[in-house]
Assembly symmetry: C2
Homo-oligomer: 383 residues x 2
């Protein structure tokens, strides 16, 4: 079949000779892909990888699958075939794929080097989003959505009502990353939130906060183009560079009661945003890290948390519950579909995905948010 695939370190190419995935187990589902978004981690695999993908000539640790493999873990599609044990979806259903691969998927992989009946501590306790062997569909565990077809088990599939367009459905995955962060933070309707960074995850966090009925939402972002995008999502924006050393004090004061925010979400992951995420909180506030950090320490002062009984935490990936909740929020309107659609800044054929997708995102980082690739919907493409 046709697919944009990861072939080897720094080698991502379109090919029309990628083997078609087949239903091999009774609980599996074959999906004809409509759209799949390019994610920052896809770019990361290309520029700095392999990270999740196996090394050249190796296989992925849990699935035992080697290269090449179609990329793409943010996908929507239509069910075209189901295994005999499938009950949740039927042929013709619109679906999205929850892309994790964990200990709970080992049963699907005949070539796995892991024993079938062993689970890591996280999976044993039900936190499969924190699985010690976490992998992803489209990032090396098994073939992803920059392709004509994907096969996964029905436990990774969520049905999407037909009122949600298929391009917006491809955003359910990044929205689920943000939804999970807001969910585990415990934000209640009306509470205030500070979002640090208005890249794709920061923008998704605005929508997830709206889905959770947050009160005041302020996004701190130094880049003008990104602040404008955040404003289009319905958030108030703040340029920390306008205020220099006073930025945190100013932020605390523009919070609803002038004493800081109930929640902060660090979508940037640098020392300055960590510090702001903590210091711009009010008493009992919760600072949530969503960013991926390298293994470099930052300075931490325990009394910064203690004196005002703040909480510091981090959000890891998502679960199928987050996908269901995002689909529901889109369906019911608490996440506005037309706002979500503004995250899509490009649509390309999978054939052109490397040049007009990956390279476009790498070279025009600030004006792009999400570029979707499609194997089929050629009548909806960008110029």
């Amino acid at each position: 079949m046709r697919a944009l695939a990861y072939f080897a370190k720094n080698k991502i190419q379109f090919s029309d000779e990628i083997p078609e995935p087949r239903i091999e187990l009774d609980d599996e589902v074959l999906i004809d892909i409509s759209y799949a978004g390019i994610c920052g981690s896809d770019l990361h695999e290309y520029l700095d990888g392999p990270i999740f993908f196996p090394e050249d000539n190796a296989v992925e640790k849990i699935s035992g699958k080697g290269l090449p493999q179609p990329m793409g873990h943010e996908m929507s599609g239509v069910v075209s075939k189901v295994g005999p044990a499938v009950t949740k979806v039927k042929v013709g259903d619109h679906v999205v794929v929850e892309a994790t691969s964990t200990c709970q998927d080992i049963y699907r992989w005949p070539n796995s080097s892991f024993p079938k009946d062993e689970e890591c501590g996280a999976c044993k306790k039900g936190f499969y989003n924190c699985c010690g062997h976490l992998g992803f569909c489209g990032l090396g565990a098994y073939g992803g959505g920059f392709a004509e077809k994907v096969v996964t088990s029905e436990r990774h599939v969520v049905k999407v009502p037909n009122d949600i367009p298929m391009d917006v459905a491809a955003l359910v995955e990044p929205l689920s990353v943000a939804w999970h962060a807001v969910r585990i933070s415990g934000l209640k309707p009306g509470q205030s939130a500070l979002v640090l960074g208005a890249g794709p995850i920061g923008l998704a966090t605005i929508l997830a906060l709206q889905g959770h009925k947050a009160g005041k939402i302020i996004v701190s972002e130094p880049a003008k183009a990104r602040r404008e995008q955040a404003a289009l999502m319905g958030a108030e924006t703040f340029n920390p560079f306008d205020h220099g050393k006073d930025a945190v004090d100013v932020l605390r004061k523009i919070a609803p009661d002038g004493e800081g925010f109930d929640f902060s979400y660090d979508c940037s992951g640098v020392k300055q945003t960590f510090d702001t995420s903590l210091h711009a909180l009010t008493f009992n506030g919760v600072a949530v890290n969503i960013a991926v950090w390298g293994h470099k320490p930052i300075d931490y002062y325990p009394m910064d948390v203690t004196l005002q009984e703040k909480f510091v935490t981090g959000s890891m990936c998502y679960t199928i519950e987050d996908f269901k909740a995002v689909v529901k929020a889109l369906h019911e309107g608490s996440i506005d579909i037309s706002r979500a659609k503004r995250m899509i800044t490009g649509r390309q054929k999978i054939e052109d995905g490397f040049e007009k997708g990956f390279m476009e995102l790498i070279n025009h980082k600030e004006t792009n948010i999400k570029i979707l690739l499609t194997p089929n919907n050629f009548n909806e493409l960008s110029e």
Copy 2:
């Protein structure tokens, strides 16, 4: 009256010429002191102070009171007189004093430099334990319990049933510090807890955990004498020095399901205990700082929290609710009175409080836990 008072920097002395406090407002209560415990922060005032006390020839910021002042913020006593508006207690009642002094107490201080109708952000939001001007009875705000008498407002007084001995009642304050930490951490019955350090606060935390019906409680403490004290409180003990670099792994394995603890409480406040408090947790675990740290940074890796969705927080002081809960726990037996009594390793007259109290604690840190001073109960004294 007779009192052990803070006179000036590094000058703590007994005197029988300290002015007796009087009821001056309608909501005030006069208390004849039974016992008052010496706290680590009292020693800290002597060795490194003034910290909470005013500088020599100055006055305390909120109360406007100068020196000398009786020390002692962990006290029990008997009500001997009440103002006309007092409704919560009557003459003869056994009571303990919640020792905070905050924005909410300014109305009591005619010499305060603060406007009567202004509250800090913390007090405004009800977190008076985090008050920006936090002071304490017995630490400079107003006269404390190393004295014959104390006057406070009834909002700082909790009645103690007569089945709780007055010496144990003097432990309600340090137990409330620990109770507050366990309460805000959200521990539910049966959940596991790691306590780091078995000094007075660590031991109080064991009792507070029992009061919250924690499951497995393990105390990590390098000093043998303190481990023995922790064992007498009913906790399992662990010597981190027996395991060198593997200490955290071993701790994780001896947690109930072999995957780390649900909660940790850092009662030591050094880099090693911070790291252990975080790494010995299971998924979604909560690390609570109870220790007081200086303003020196420690290394923090955001992914240490994020990958397993842990929480880091800190506990600040207590509120009157913690005092009520500790008194209830002692009364109902969920905190064992005879175990609590084991925290008392000495009793002395206030006359001898400096030599046989302060100096004894400074010179024999590991064998002592809590030394109580009393102005009256001379028939119950230590040798």
